[in-house]
Point group: C2
């Protein structure tokens, strides 16, 4: 990492020479138009990522990224003034792997000279509404690491670039700031917001993206691009466009240079009116453009030549990049407005709210979330198991495959659910292949840690009670791996063959367990057996073993059954519906009616607008949802570990309301589907919780699973909203939780995947669970969102909501660990046969539990000698009297089997040493900024985390 | 011209070294698959030629030739094994003009090394059905000269390449042979013919293209390409195709190398079964492909690598060119079948006869033919007027603009009428601009020759009796320039203002003339004045002045009126229709009924086929045409110079039957349009001549205006025809004439433009005059052929047929000079004011008339010192007892004002010295071939022309 050896742009004063080398000269007394040649390459959408890479299935969409990179390389080499930016490392990586050394050398030269600039640089351009911060950080790390390893500092992107995602999350901005980006540009924001910003010349601002982190830690200069991410009208010269080329041969027909120059100068001057400096940016590219870069460059060369020849116009056009444009803005030394909220929801018209994709493809969204959990387990066990984990008795395993699949899945047409069906299938297939590779790795690691190499099986269909290992064996062994940095209680339910099982803990103690035989509540669940006894031997491998009780949930990892002592739920005997929820500890009680409804999706035939609901857009035909059933048939179960009320609302909606003994949260396990559409009505199914909480129009949703944002019905903090969609226009993404509160009560719902949610009435919370639609919503995907499911009857989806009723001040102490445990689940592995006598039955990777505020976000192998560690303070600055405090962790004392021999702090994305981070500083109208101060750590190994802080370390380790 | 200095391929034994340099090695024991990367770039079709060049209007069709050449150049430079061929010099010339010297050097290197090979190389790929040989030779000469001047011998195409034209004319093959091509490939032939040839392995043959020229002068090796001009199914890798790319990265999804290799080997082996050698050709390209050549080459590189790696397959794939493929065929040393007829009409299905375009856009076809006449006048006067003609008192003029416009107009979607309307407009506009440039040149030349510089006007609308110069002046001067090499009588009709005109000849003699005032026969012709007297002074400038009578038409240029002494026509007084024609000299008389009919164009809704009539396809709904009217209203005119019967058949069909005194042919001047389509019926209007000639199913049509071909109803000479379209399947193109005959009578119709014609009943001749259709015929043009005309009411078209009734043996003596005079019309120029006293009133460029058999085909300025001369024997070998004899011309004694100081004979296209022509010789099954022997010329200046021979000379000349 020797940035002074290359010619890439550096912004600090000491390297002014290098800066001049790479950014083209601008004219102080003219309007500088920064042309930014770029391509936007979706990591899957209408085609799979590999189809896009190769240019396969061009019948669906003409796009071939291999050719884009081939072509741009040639065009850049042809003229040193040309510039190009590249964004998606998932594609660049595929291409780079196939290049010969001469090509690689040429590319490196272009990168070093700033002619090819990487921007954003993650594996993909992640979705912002439906992603979890953990997976986003991982995917960014994967992409940026490749660039760093390949090109060094010159390959490090300085600008974040989310030109296409459909709304922008504050947590993303916070992450980008902590990753060291100097600025951020995007293309999509609410049309009313944009109009206001244009009017007020407020298109560029500083986004203060955290309420907890000290500015400017999470401050990010943010610019709204003028034309989405497209070129100005009439100036698209890609092969996919039909704008007229510049015809400058007077011997041929239709010489048009004068007209082109005139139009361009007009457009530039008009655009300059919306922005504050004498620099403006034009995005010269779009989706999968530059497959034949010659078309673009040949015409832009002419444009630059002919416009600049017209000196009196005072317009200076130049090839540029976002970072060079940002440099121009920075040098203007203005004071910028401060943005505190986020950019959700996104609407591009009065009836066009992009709030449907918050829920679209709920099964894929869940699979992605589960895969993140497995990936973290896999990463941790790769570290703890040592080199044997990658090549061991079960063969060769790796975490890379799942890491890549997860990084692909973060794309804004992947987990978002806005891809074509076959592409959704491909994302799932990639995840499944990643699982297989991880399972081998995990088996190897567990074999190493347990010294027992009997075959291990993983039951991936436990959610539908399928597990051959347990169903076919009278005796089996269960290994549970807990990836959290503290003990957790987790119910284990297994399908078994018989009713007489005994569960033994590692040292032989019998664990309370129950076998139940229960008829399915829904038509899909033919047999729904709650597995328990006969002979189940449990191994406990985890980051932490031990007996002390930590946090709110007492005890060792205890797979089953606690005494229900904290919550009471009541049901109306006439309707079968819940009618109250009580917290027995705090003596709080609220009325709680819960039921299932569906919005009738607009088919596009209305007087207001022809916008139908689709994969992106949520547009109900009426603001009043239709109730699935006024009553539910109920079945109850009660034993020593669990109480359940099964509710059957219709053949396609059912629910289990479940309360484990000793649990402080109520579980609602819903099953929805196949959504019937024989009536030709698209349906968007919600569950709604109606309480007597006096929420006054406010509700609260998380941002990418981390900080909470206040929402208010029919209101936006930064402009005077004209609400035109009373339901869809109030929907927000939730990634982990939503709550409403009044002074006394807070009802928090923690969810198992990303969803859309709202509160449309005081005291009410609604969450969209599943959608089945009959029309495409005309945003490009070209398919109605109607997932086929088994036999094409429509997809059945099952999920969980965990409800907690608390006083507001204690809520975070419940929902933070609850959400943490839901995101990182224990891994279950099964073995049969006879136990090897030397088997190690318990293992803990950590020396001790970490404090409740500390989340072990990342533990993964970096290279042979070092591991990447991220520790996170998982509480916001004011949300918990006890936990919203700085906490200290000693890195030396972290691991039980690894000795930490060196530590280096890095930026969040681990592509820069923390002490080399040197971001642009921006003057803001939001008051003075304090430079972040490090707390005086007592030793180099002791690190202190403040609320919502994530610290990233590269640790050199040795096996003890 | 030093071919040994370059590395292009030469086929003679002495340069084997160079041959090996450029053609890739083949494998004698394997099947060699010659991949020929190519692009087919229409010189206008859906877009204008310049729109295609620039890539403008990509909304109509994605195509930009500038980018194709840019891209191919880069890809060829990247790998020396790659090959490309380029065809259309109209585009290459545009591109070359814009390149810098480094690019030009690189291209020259590629050409010299045979990596870029020019094929065909004319300005365009001419249409074969609707072009006149004169214009085809000119356009080929223009393109080939550019290649010769730019690249020398290495740029000379060795292969003719007409992959797209819709049927193939024998005269084209004859011309290509005489231009020195070694072989010819095309893509389209009748589907039954193709099936027969595949069955009989007769896809490649020797075409003996003249009945008059001694073999192998007009022999041309001819190959039918296997897939039209497209790649085999599944192997199109252009950006415009959707075939899957080769996916050879095992790390990505959908690795398909094995499958691709297997499919390719199957296809190659299947194709080899249709051909006779162990070489096969695959055309890897199509319309406007290779705009992003990387897609093609990257995948073909892989194809070659992976197929050739499979050695056991015995398939060797290589980059190649048509000439390298031809070399492989030649080396096979086989004996080939001989083809004697032509490839008309073309059908690609039982109801899909491409015989509509023979007539489509009749006004454009006429304008193109008239433009050829003007171009020849312009060329001649550029030579005769000397340097002053290009820059003189009227400004700067040139013949190049019209030459280029005419060369563009020969394209197979130009004069063919198969382009979009806006493109047809562009062709006409280019011709009009060429006319303007030529008019300036002609004015300069006439000023030089006459020593009078008063302004000259040209009345281009005389066909609708509009001429301001004559209408507004009581006294005006008329210059008549006759471009023929002999005297001709030509009627001049001018609109005038008054009735009392006197016409004076150069030396003051009064010429008989008449002023007539005649009401319009059609609704369009409001005033139809036959111009004569008051004071018209005629100047005679011509190739030839003098008083001797030559040929069949006595006298000096006599613009008006002769005594009708040779023909009698009779009309039925009840119907107003002709009913007999008599030749008074020979005492022949036939019954002759003539009328107008229309075929109801198929709308595509029939049980047999959904093919409608369109720009290409002629498909009548019924074989019985609908009569326009059983009777005609008639008006008669008779004066000392002309007798006329005007016939009005309907508001949109009229005709003037006209007989000049002293004329041996009867003129039928038809006016058709606007064709009404308010009845929603498309109409294809014909005139039909029904006689009692016993033609026995035979009729005769010209090939590109030269040699005649025998046609027979429902019959093809080379296969057993299954006739499925009794009308359209018997249509043939006529460019200048058609005749039927029996032992006694021959009725010949000479026409003024290219048309479709047939003889469907014995004694009957029909000619399609005009078409207006309501449906597109699904061959790509995407528009119904419905020419808008003035005010979008539909186009009115006027034209002439000249009828001659003769004994068969004398027919050519009439129709050859008649057609010659119709092709090269006198030019009329008008002046007003007072005559300058020193004005030279007569000029002749030739010393004397040439013999009747000799046509002066070309006289044009080549460079400062030399002129290009083509002399043609215009009779076939047996068609005239007197004229079908060798004739001798002394080049020294040709010109009156130019001294010929040197002469070099060239090939027909003037891109090679005649004595350096060294074509492949091919063994044929058609009997022995005599090498052409030169007649023992008596002096180097005396040249002897045999029937149908064209000799081409470069003459060094000096002004006397």
């Amino acid at each position: 990492m020797l940035p002074l050896l290359c010619f890439c742009h550096r912004y600090d004063l000491l390297s002014l020479y290098f800066l001049l080398q790479s950014c083209p000269a601008t004219q102080p007394s003219m309007l500088n138009v920064h042309l930014v040649p770029h391509t936007h390459d979706d990591v899957g959408w209408l085609k799979t990522v590999d189809q896009y890479y190769y240019g396969d299935r061009n019948d669906i969409q003409h796009a071939g990224v291999q050719y884009i990179l081939d072509s741009v390389l040639e065009q850049l080499l042809a003229d040193p003034t040309r510039r190009f930016i590249y964004v998606e490392t998932a594609f660049f990586f595929r291409w780079w792997r196939q290049q010969d050394s001469a090509t690689r050398k040429a590319v490196t030269m272009l990168v070093n000279e700033g002619r090819l600039e990487f921007v954003n640089g993650g594996w993909c351009m992640s979705d912002e509404a439906t992603t979890h911060y953990s997976a986003v950080i991982d995917q960014m790390t994967l992409g940026l690491r490749f660039l760093n390893d390949t090109f060094g500092a010159c390959g490090r992107p300085r600008v974040a670039w989310h030109i296409d995602p459909f709304g922008h999350a504050r947590e993303h901005a916070s992450m980008f700031a902590q990753m060291g980006y100097d600025g951020f540009f995007f293309g999509r924001l609410d049309y009313q917001d944009k109009a206001r910003r244009i009017r007020d010349k407020d298109m560029e601002m500083v986004w203060r993206a955290s309420e907890s982190l000290t500015p400017p830690t999470a401050d990010l200069f943010t610019g709204v691009l003028p034309n989405g991410y497209n070129p100005p009208a009439g100036f698209c010269w890609d092969q996919s466009c039909n704008d007229p080329p510049i015809r400058d041969d007077p011997n041929l027909e239709d010489y048009n240079v004068d007209n082109v120059v005139k139009r361009f100068i007009e457009i530039a001057n008009d655009q300059a009116k919306m922005y504050r400096t004498n620099h403006i940016i034009m995005t010269m590219g779009s989706d999968f453009q530059y497959e034949n870069a010659n078309l673009w460059y040949k015409n832009m060369d002419k444009l630059i030549r002919y416009v600049n020849a017209k000196v009196r116009s005072k317009v200076n056009v130049l090839y540029s990049t976002p970072s060079c444009y940002l440099q121009g803005l920075h040098q203007a030394n203005l004071t910028w407005s401060v943005k505190m909220d986020d950019f959700f929801p996104y609407a591009d018209g009065p009836h066009d709210f992009w709030t449907g994709y918050f829920t679209s493809r709920p099964a894929l969204k869940r699979y992605e979330r589960l895969s993140n959990s497995l990936l973290q387990v896999c990463n941790q066990l790769e570290v703890l198991g040592g080199p044997n984990s990658r090549k061991g008795p079960y063969g060769e395993g790796d975490s890379d495959t799942l890491q890549e699949a997860m990084s692909v899945a973060q794309h804004h047409d992947a987990v978002s659910g806005t891809e074509k069906q076959h592409v959704a299938n491909d994302y799932a297939k990639r995840l499944a292949r990643g699982w297989a590779h991880c399972e081998t790795l995990v088996s190897n690691a567990l074999a190493t840690l347990s010294s027992w190499e009997a075959p291990r099986e993983y039951c991936l269909s436990l959610n539908i009670s399928v597990c051959p290992a347990t169903e076919n064996s009278y005796k089996f062994f269960l290994t549970v791996y807990n990836p959290l940095s503290r003990m957790v209680s987790w119910p284990v339910r297994l399908p078994v063959n018989g009713s007489d099982y005994m569960v033994l803990q590692p040292h032989g103690q019998v664990l309370d367990s129950q076998v139940s035989l229960i008829m399915a509540a829904s038509s899909i669940m033919v047999s729904h057996c709650y597995a328990i006894k006969r002979s189940v031997r449990i191994f406990v491998s985890s980051l932490l073993k031990g007996t002390q009780e930590v946090g709110f949930q007492p005890g060792l990892i205890q797979p089953f059954f606690f005494v229900p002592q904290f919550i009471r739920v009541t049901f109306d005997p006439d309707t079968g519906l819940m009618n109250s929820l009580t917290n027995l500890e705090t003596k709080q009680k609220i009325q709680l009616m819960q039921n299932f409804y569906w919005y009738n999706a607009s088919d596009g035939n209305s007087a207001d607008s022809n916008q139908p609901s689709g994969a992106y857009i949520f547009r109900p035909n009426s603001s009043t949802p239709i109730i699935v059933s006024q009553t539910a048939k109920t079945y109850t179960l009660k034993n020593s570990v669990v109480q359940e009320v099964q509710q059957e609302f219709s053949p396609w909606v059912s629910q289990v309301v479940r309360l484990y003994w000793g649990s402080r949260e109520l579980e609602l396990e819903w099953t929805v589907g196949p959504i019937p559409v024989e009536d030709s009505l698209g349906k968007e199914v919600i569950t709604r919780l109606d309480t007597n909480i006096n929420s006054s129009g406010y509700f609260y949703t998380d941002s990418n699973g981390r900080e909470m944002l206040e929402r208010r019905k029919d209101f936006r903090p930064t402009w005077d909203l004209k609400q035109s969609e009373p339901v869809a226009g109030n929907y927000y993404p939730i990634n982990s939780r939503i709550y409403i509160k009044d002074k006394v009560n807070q009802l928090t719902a923690v969810t198992d995947r990303s969803q859309g949610a709202s509160s449309l009435q005081d005291g009410s919370l609604e969450i969209m669970l599943h959608r089945r639609l009959l029309y495409d919503d005309v945003r490009g995907v070209g398919e109605p969102l109607s997932e086929p499911g088994d036999d094409n009857k429509g997809l059945v989806v099952r999920g969980r909501l965990l409800l907690a009723l608390t006083p507001p001040k204690d809520a975070a102490d419940i929902h933070r660990p609850l959400a943490e445990a839901l995101v990182l689940e224990p891994l279950l592995a099964f073995q049969t046969g006879e136990l090897h006598p030397n088997t190690i039955l318990e293992f803990s990777g950590l020396q001790a539990s970490l404090p409740p505020a500390v989340h072990l976000l990342t533990l993964s192998q970096w290279d042979q000698e070092s591991v990447l560690l991220r520790l996170e303070h998982q509480f916001q600055v004011t949300e918990s009297p006890t936990n919203s405090q700085p906490v200290t962790v000693n890195l030396k004392k972290l691991f039980s089997t690894l000795e930490v021999v060196g530590v280096s702090e890095m930026n969040l994305s681990a592509n820069q040493w923390k002490d080399e981070m040197n971001r642009f500083d921006w003057k803001t109208s939001g008051g003075e900024q304090c430079p972040p101060r490090r707390l005086g750590d007592t030793s180099p190994w002791e690190i202190t985390l403040k609320p919502m802080e994530i610290q990233t370390f590269l640790l050199r380790v040795r096996q003890r």
